[in-house]
């Protein structure tokens, strides 16, 4: 895949749309009283409305090794790809989407792959037990070796000496320092209301950094997804442009590992009933997850029509989503 093919907008997009794009000059301070932002270079910008889309940075492990790869930027991915070779050995640390997608890519390229994760289950908080087990079996069939329930404390561990590449995917930390420095309410994310306004009504937060009330989560949540970033950005743009919109989109997620495309509609979480439909042995099925008799989220493996139906279904009023 060519790097340009994953570009969302070309470099000249901003010019064309008359948007001034400032890069390489970080915002370091918000002066809310005078509605002013100070950049690293000392430059000051005034705002009437401000949108914080500061994202997140990767959680890292202590210890240094040139074998380590974190995946956050295009540069990270290109550098990782250039180091992957058939016959080489990869260790993936972390049993989430990143660790598993890296493991699948490396196995498909003919590398030996081991995956270590602190949690006992793969994709623990992001999927049902059924899907977690099904993907563990998928990876095992493809020759990935697992060491689950094993936390890695440092990259200096001599047990990590053999692999050529160590991919670390142990989550991200939202970038909240700018917001906190300005006295906005922020802890594990920048807190917003349902219009994505922070504790200052002229300042919004969107995307990975926004800890927002989400009806699907039943409380404040921070989401790291394409859907969340794009829909939140549009909501805020609409509000600022004079048509206030509350953020109320059905969350959806996807991941591709080996021959399985997993699509999730709704918010994964605790469930007390999971109903499997389709043919798990043939790798085409969906899992409908209920809690307290209500449909909460649907996971589809190579069943795009089920996924789309679920997205539509979950938009309906909760009262008709009961299991009985």
């Amino acid at each position: 895949m060519a790097p340009e093919s994953i570009e969302f907008r070309p470099a000249d997009f901003f010019d064309r749309e008359q948007i001034e794009f400032i890069s390489g000059d970080a915002a370091v301070e918000i002066e809310r009283g005078s509605r002013l932002i100070r950049l690293q270079s000392g430059r000051e910008l005034h705002y009437s409305e401000l949108v914080l889309a500061t994202g997140a940075h990767v959680r890292t492990l202590p210890g240094a090794t040139d074998k380590v790869a974190y995946i956050r930027t295009l540069t990270d991915s290109l550098s990782l790809r250039s180091r992957m070779r058939k016959g080489g050995e990869m260790l993936a640390i972390g049993g989430g989407f990143i660790g598993l997608e890296a493991a699948a890519a490396a196995r498909s390229m003919g590398m030996t792959v081991r995956l270590m994760a602190a949690e006992p289950r793969l994709m623990g908080r992001a999927v049902s037990h059924y899907i977690s087990d099904w993907f563990a079996a998928l990876h095992e069939r493809h020759g990935v070796q697992f060491q689950l329930g094993t936390a890695v404390a440092t990259l200096d561990d001599p047990a990590l000496a053999s692999p050529d590449i160590i991919v670390v995917g142990i989550g991200v930390i939202p970038n909240v320092a700018l917001a906190q420095g300005a006295g906005l309410e922020a802890f594990s994310g920048i807190v917003t209301d349902n219009h994505l306004r922070t504790s200052d009504s002229a300042i919004f937060a969107v995307g990975d950094c926004a800890l927002h009330p989400n009806a699907w989560a039943g409380g404040l949540v921070r989401l790291e997804s394409v859907q969340n970033a794009a829909d939140q950005a549009r909501c805020v743009a609409s509000t600022i442009a004079g048509t206030p919109k509350a953020y109320a989109h059905v969350p959806w997620f996807w991941t591709e590992q080996f021959e399985a495309k997993l699509q999730i509609a709704g918010m994964p979480g605790e469930t007390d009933e999971s109903v499997v439909r389709g043919d798990p042995a043939a790798g085409k099925f969906s899992v409908y997850n209920y809690q307290a008799g209500k449909l909460r989220f649907v996971e589809s493996v190579n069943k795009p029509a089920d996924h789309i139906a679920a997205r539509k279904l979950l938009e309906l009023p909760p009262s008709i989503l009961g299991s009985s």
Partner: protein
């Protein structure tokens, strides 16, 4: 190199020269053609790259696969028999002259 023409819902037309191999969505985005959003970047996940394909060219396109067909039921503008997701149409030399119309809204 094949030419692709994009007509907006209000009738404005833009023709771009595309590299064979890129998708109709990518050719639009790279050339700043408005009317195609492409939230998911071409992964057939978002239905915000919806286009109506000029009838003359429909027969030249590979039919929509299962995932595109499913995703087309989520388009923000009406799905018509000539509706396609532009990220799923790979441009080939055979498609030179292709005309697509972008819908009024994408999300």
């Amino acid at each position: 190199m094949p030419n692709i023409t994009y007509i907006s819902h209000t009738g404005e037309s833009r023709t771009v020269t595309a590299d064979a191999g890129v998708s109709v969505m990518q050719a639009a985005v790279r050339n700043g053609v408005p009317g195609i959003v492409a939230d998911c970047g071409g992964e057939c996940q978002c239905a915000t790259c919806h286009v109506y394909v000029d009838e003359k060219f429909l027969g030249l396109l590979k039919p929509a696969e299962e995932d595109e067909d499913a995703m087309l039921t989520l388009t923000a503008s009406e799905r018509k028999p000539n509706s396609r997701l532009s990220c799923q149409i790979a441009i080939t030399d055979k498609l030179d002259g292709l005309i697509v119309t972008t819908p009024e809204i994408q999300q």
